[in-house]
């Protein structure tokens, strides 16, 4: 058995712990070199894992060699491998950006980022619902510490809400898990999907309730409509690298919706088939609408970006609501794009705020920025990608989603909402850009700090992925399609993951 599959989970934990030990712990310089190096190793490991998965199909890693469904398994299917690579790239960029001084606002910055990444990677890989909970808690406790990192009134206030909401979410998650275990007798996701068919009809309602409770929990993580109020304030008060890292956390919720409500409660679930879809429809469209209204009403760039994250959540939920393989594939492509671009936008917002003095990133006239042309250029690229205009990757993602709507009713609902939301995005982002970069009071005489080159490099790394996603759109959409097919095909997402059971049946 190859141990490659567990590396994306183990590497960040081990390097995060090593960072707290003496030779590294007392020198910020060594910490920076070590953490960026481990970020690079993580990217290499994830890319390797992606290549292996693309070649050999789903990788199954049984911890302690206890076979599923009795042991705990890590499942690296095409979707998971794609998201692991995404997380690693984001982690590398965030670690690089933090090296410019953000990591000195408090202790253990790099360690916390790496632990957060371990939690996210674990959540993407686990084939066991209880381990999904454990990974959620790992990433959440790291995120609590990161959110409050550096201190300040605003951060305390935002993290109080965030922590309490997520603790309530964790309780609901555990209630749902208890109900699922009591009725289905297993926690392995694939095994749950299998046992759902043998369920006595009395227990159906319990399983349904548990499934809807899971939807609430994942909705809270992914900030879908009635549960999204925490997001804007939390993301806009977090420090820039943390906010960029948080861009992946809403996607963990979206991923869990795709995983649980497609594999367990998908179209093959008998009486409970597609039970979340009828709820996801209005929620997705309303999230999209409310997010774009929020974007129009935002008073500063970080808030605007946070609202654009909500818009992207709505867009991804449309993919989940359609519940077909082609829609899921479109959503996966869009997910890759939107995570990287919104992370880059959070980082740009931070640089803009630093160079505008007192005005920060609020949309008011202020002094001229030192590196106006550079930042303006980066903002321009990020904004084009974010609203989904050609030639960058947002356009392809949205076009794929629009294409995925096939029946007349689907088109009538999706097309206007998605396109008008994009229009709102264009208006909000262009208004923001003109104010930030062109409404200047006084002369441009080069006051203020210059951005460190490693910060610019981190942003360029994130933004460069957008044209790359466009250039290699063919292979990437093929792979996303393959990931969606695996997810929607019970032979691949259920039976293939339970080799010991299928052997027994023969």
């Amino acid at each position: 058995m190859s141990h490659l599959a567990i590396l994306p989970f183990l590497l960040p934990i081990i390097s995060g712990l090593l960072l707290m030990l003496p030779p590294l712990q007392n020198s910020i310089q060594r910490q920076r070199i070590f953490s960026v190096a481990s970020g690079v190793v993580l990217v290499i490991a994830s890319a390797w894992l992606l290549a292996v998965t693309a070649e050999q199909g789903t990788q199954l890693y049984a911890l302690g060699n206890w076979q599923a469904p009795y042991g705990i398994v890590l499942v690296v299917d095409p979707l998971a491998s794609l998201l692991l690579l995404l997380t690693s790239i984001l982690c590398l960029a965030v670690l690089m950006y933090a090296c410019a001084g953000e990591d000195q606002t408090g202790m253990y910055y790099h360690t916390l980022i790496l632990l957060l990444v371990a939690g996210v990677n674990g959540a993407f890989m686990t084939g066991d619902l209880f381990n999904l909970f454990v990974c959620f808690e790992i990433l959440l406790i790291a995120s609590y510490a990161l959110l409050i990192h550096g201190g300040g009134k605003q951060k305390t206030q935002a993290s109080l809400h965030y922590v309490i909401l997520n603790l309530v979410g964790s309780s609901i998650f555990l209630f749902a898990l208890g109900m699922l275990y009591a009725t289905l007798g297993t926690l392995n996701i694939a095994d749950m999907a299998r046992r759902l068919h043998q369920l006595p009809s009395d227990d159906l309602i319990l399983v349904q309730a548990a499934g809807m409770m899971l939807l609430i929990v994942f909705g809270l993580k992914s900030a879908m409509l009635p549960l999204h109020f925490w997001l804007a304030r939390t993301y806009s008060s977090a420090s820039a690298p943390v906010a960029a890292m948080f861009a992946i956390m809403t996607k963990v919720g979206i991923y869990s919706i795709f995983r649980v409500h497609t594999v367990i409660f998908g179209e093959h679930a008998g009486e409970l088939a597609n039970m979340a879809q009828s709820w996801l429809w209005p929620i997705a469209l309303l999230t999209l609408a409310l997010g774009s209204i929020g974007a129009l009403a935002s008073a500063n760039l970080r808030l605007l970006t946070a609202n654009m994250v909500i818009v992207s959540v709505g867009t991804l939920l449309i993919g989940a609501a359609l519940g077909r393989a082609d829609a899921s594939a479109a959503a996966f492509y869009y997910l890759l794009h939107t995570t990287l671009v919104s992370a880059a936008m959070f980082l740009i917002a931070d640089l803009v705020a630093r160079q505008r003095g007192k005005a920060g990133d609020r949309f008011v006239a202020a002094r001229c920025m030192r590196q106006r042309d550079l930042l303006g250029g980066l903002y321009f690229i990020a904004a084009i990608a974010m609203v989904g205009m050609p030639p960058l990757s947002g356009f392809i993602g949205k076009a794929l989603l629009l294409q995925a709507a096939q029946t007349f009713a689907e088109m009538v609902w999706i097309w206007p909402v998605l396109l008008i939301a994009s229009l709102f995005g264009i208006i909000a982002l262009s208004r923001a850009g003109t104010t930030l970069f062109w409404r200047v009071s006084g002369q441009c005489n080069g006051e203020g700090d210059k951005a460190a080159s490693i910060q610019i490099l981190a942003i360029v790394l994130l933004l460069a992925c957008s044209p790359l996603l466009t250039l290699f759109a063919g292979p990437i959409t093929d792979y996303a399609r393959q990931a969606a097919d695996v997810l929607h095909d019970p032979a691949l997402s259920v039976d293939a993951l339970l080799p010991s059971l299928s052997l027994g049946a023969e």
Binding site: E137, I141, T156, L160, L174, F175, A182
Partner: protein
């Protein structure tokens, strides 16, 4: 036994939810603790309730499901860590914001005493 057990879990959950909806951080923290107690008991019961059956094969004619016990143990550890964190955060909030309201400020139309109003 089942009825009593279910009643206890229900009472704990009700009190937990009520307290979580309060406006001060201390009741909210206590509410979260009660909720996690309720959750732990609930998880424990997901392996069915049985008397005189340890999770050891051969010790008794019947044995109980060991998995929920492992799950509860994990959930207790995580819940304890999270409670510790939220207590510290609440104290920090009290220090940073000058009051213990969850929003960080006492609203104007509030049932709280006049002394504490800004």
């Amino acid at each position: 036994m089942e009825a009593l057990y279910a009643f206890c879990v229900g009472i704990l959950t009700t009190c937990g939810v009520f307290l979580v909806l309060r406006s001060r951080t201390f009741p909210v923290v206590v509410g979260l603790t009660l909720l996690s107690y309720a959750v732990n008991l609930f998880l424990f019961s997901s392996g069915r309730l049985a008397i005189n059956s340890a999770a050891v094969i051969g010790a008794n004619p019947t044995y109980s499901d060991p998995l929920p016990q492992a799950l509860v143990l994990t959930a207790i550890v995580i819940g304890f860590a999270m409670t510790a964190f939220v207590v510290i955060l609440a104290m920090r909030g009290r220090g940073d914001l000058g009051n213990d309201h969850v929003d960080g400020r006492i609203p104007e139309y509030s049932s709280l005493s006049d002394k504490e109003k800004p």
